[in-house]
């Protein structure tokens, strides 16, 4: 495992990284962890591989923690285990320091928001939001007041008498939020809450969720496969793959220093290239980078390169070093940036059997980007890459 802990070559940012690590440590000590999951495993009767295997993480009080992973990574199952909607085969769920593993969902005091909204179709918006209070026998006057407050908070004041079928997807999901908040839960659990909405509403609701969280300061767990959403909304990420927790950390940590090859490839849209340690340097195609720790001469490497890790070298630069040339295969202008795919020219090296294609993302405003077209030859420099020793097979 240690060999896998690749070091990222991070030019001139080591002090910054160390300072960040220190704050993270302090943050860990002070947060007493409103919610903790310890070594949870869940296996479905018909599935061969466990849905969740030995998963552990701590969610800070008042923070937003995202469970991020592709579909089938076990993140939703883990969330349902926290809510008490699934029973784990092994492991412990702690809420506010109490072991709630055997507590039924009804008594956990968590608010759950589903991707499908899961509103009660036979009840008005008011009755949906009032549900949790009315089954507790709260007086009607108090309920009405509280429902009005909550509907105002989710920007649906005056919607009380409508029915879920009359609302748009975004409105329904806000009703679901109000309904979950009504019972004043200790933890808010969100299972892909914006997954069924169209892109624009999703972005709006994301901003709205941040505001809501600032106002309520409720410990929140967000399950999502959308890394943009996770990076934008959360204080802390738990990256999952195939039922296991791959890495936990702040969004910046996870983005800048992926702990495993999976995280490196999943977060930030990296391309994987093969490399090797030679003459004390990491050779990735024609590029040279400082090698990661714990590798020996001749070891194979897996290099994960993001478009932003590569820069175009200006043709004016004299005697460019470590900057091979390539031909632009495709050019895609996506909003503010231009995404190029560059096929590197084969070097003299004997092992360059395959063509290497590399993504380059440049700002649309940069003078180089606007002049470039398909077929042009450019000179590239690799600023950094996430490097991992290839596991001996």
């Amino acid at each position: 495992m240690n060999a896998l802990l690749g070091a990222l070559t991070f030019a001139g940012a080591t002090d910054e990284a160390r300072a960040k690590a220190r704050t993270t440590e302090r943050w860990r000590d002070e947060s007493h962890g409103e919610l903790a999951v310890e070594d949870v495993t869940k296996r479905y009767p018909r599935g061969e591989a466990p849905a969740v295997e030995g998963a552990s993480f701590v969610a800070a009080r008042g923070g937003v923690t995202s469970l991020l992973g592709p579909s089938g990574s076990g993140k939703s199952t883990l969330l349902r285990i926290i809510a008490g909607l699934e029973i784990p085969d092994a492991g412990t769920v702690l809420l506010g320091g109490d072991d709630v593993t055997d507590l039924p969902a009804q008594r956990r005091g968590v608010g759950f928001v589903f991707q499908s909204y899961a509103l009660f179709p036979t009840m008005s918006v008011h009755d949906n939001v009032a549900f949790g209070l009315s089954i507790r026998g709260v007086p009607k006057r108090v309920i009405d007041e509280r429902v009005r407050e909550l509907l105002a908070r989710v920007q649906l004041g005056g919607y009380g008498r409508r029915f879920p079928a009359e609302l748009s997807g975004g409105e329904r999901q806000r009703v679901a939020f109000a309904r979950a908040l009504a019972v004043e839960p200790r933890v808010l659990l969100l299972d892909e809450p914006f997954g069924a909405l169209d892109a624009r509403v999703r972005v709006e609701l994301r901003a709205w969720l941040r505001t809501l969280h600032r106002e309520t300061q409720l410990t929140t767990i967000l399950v999502t496969h959308d890394q943009e959403e996770a990076l934008e909304v959360s204080d802390r990420l738990v990256v999952m793959s195939r039922g296991r927790v791959e890495q936990t950390g702040t969004p910046e940590e996870v983005y800048a220093r992926p702990a495993t090859p999976f995280v490196a490839s999943f977060v930030g849209g990296a391309v994987e290239l093969a490399g090797v340690v030679r003459r004390g340097q990491a050779e990735i195609g024609p590029f040279r980078l400082p090698p990661p720790r714990h590798v020996a001469e001749g070891d194979g490497l897996r290099a994960f390169v993001r478009g932003h890790d590569v820069e175009l070298v200006s043709p004016d630069e004299s005697s460019p070093e470590n900057a091979p040339t390539g031909r632009i295969e495709s050019r895609l202008a996506i909003g503010p940036s231009v995404r190029l795919t560059v096929r590197l020219d084969r070097g003299p090296a004997k092992d360059a059997k395959r063509d290497v294609e590399i993504p380059v993302t440049v700002s649309r405003d940069s003078p180089l980007a606007s002049a470039l077209a398909r077929g042009d030859v450019v000179r590239l420099r690799l600023r950094r890459a996430a490097l991992f020793a290839r596991e001996a097979s």
Binding site: V110, A118, F120, P121, T122, F131, I135, R136, V183
Partner: protein, 284 residues
């Protein structure tokens, strides 16, 4: 065909045609299958005249028959609604060995000649029958009593409730139940406040169908009821009795009364159902 003149609205055209054809077929089919025989019935009863109709409405034997027919059908439908809903629930929600068999059993009353069902029930519920023996201990008499009529009607009505409620249960959002549980609702509260209201329209439909089926049932009832005038004689049987006595007018008058009452009740249930469906805010 000439093109439509300017300013004249063109008849709306549909991308998926077929409305006129299907509506035409519907009206034609309903006419020859339902409407024409019913119209003939009403025409025939007009021969009876007001006097005959009044007789049909006041004759104590006919009144007793109406009461039994409508009462027993109502009670049978009332019993079928909850139990049919439970059967439908089990068939939709759970997987278990023998499920296919139970599923087939539910449809059996559709296929079995009702006379067979009547004879079988009679032998079971008779004083020395498998069940009747034990019930007799408690002083309960089913065969050759009004209770027997109800039993026969429950048998024929059950599949109507099960098959009407089943698809609605299948459509209930499982996550809505989970949401209710995480809000603190006990299982019973979830069933009462989340599941049951969603089932009401389908339950009403199932109830109405089972009720109508019970009202029209003849074959199985005449074996189990004993057919004692004033006590266990159902209206359809009285009609047959009158026919056998060549009292066509009397038979038709009773038929018209049954027709009118049944139609009224079905319309009432139908509008109740529309109302409850509208209350759901046009869901599904």
């Amino acid at each position: 065909m000439s093109p439509p003149a300017a300013g004249v609205a063109r008849a709306p055209r549909r991308v998926l045609p077929g409305f006129s054809l299907t509506l035409g077929t519907t009206i034609f089919w309903l006419s020859i299958v339902v409407l024409v025989p019913l119209a003939a019935l009403v025409a025939k009863s007009s021969e009876v005249g007001l006097h005959g109709l009044r007789l049909a409405l006041t004759d104590p034997r006919a009144l007793a028959a109406y009461r039994l027919s409508f009462g027993a059908s109502f009670i049978a439908a009332l019993i079928n609604a909850p139990f049919g809903a439970v059967v439908a629930w089990v068939l939709v929600r759970y997987r278990f060995p023998g499920k296919a068999l139970i599923d087939a059993l539910v449809d059996l009353p559709f296929a079995l000649p009702t006379a067979v069902a009547g004879i079988t029930s009679t032998s079971i519920y008779a004083e020395h029958g498998v069940l009747g023996r034990h019930l007799a201990h408690w002083g309960i008499k089913v065969a050759f009593a009004p209770a027997g009529v109800v039993v026969a009607m429950i048998f024929v009505g059950l599949p109507f409730v099960v098959r009407t409620v089943e698809p609605v249960i299948a459509e209930i959002d499982f996550e809505a139940e989970e949401a209710a549980a995480s809000l603190g609702a006990s299982r019973l509260t979830v069933l009462r406040r989340v599941v049951f209201p969603a089932l009401v329209p389908a339950l009403l439909t199932g109830f109405a169908l089972a009720f109508a089926r019970g009202l029209g049932e003849y074959g199985s009832v005449i074996f189990i009821s004993g057919n004692m005038p004033m006590r266990t004689e159902i209206a359809p049987l009285l009609i047959v009795t009158r026919l056998e006595q060549y009292d066509y007018a009397g038979a038709t008058a009773i038929a018209v009364v049954m027709l009118a009452v049944a139609l009224l009740m079905l319309v009432a249930v139908g509008s109740l159902q529309t109302w409850s469906r509208r209350r759901l805010g046009g869901v599904r």
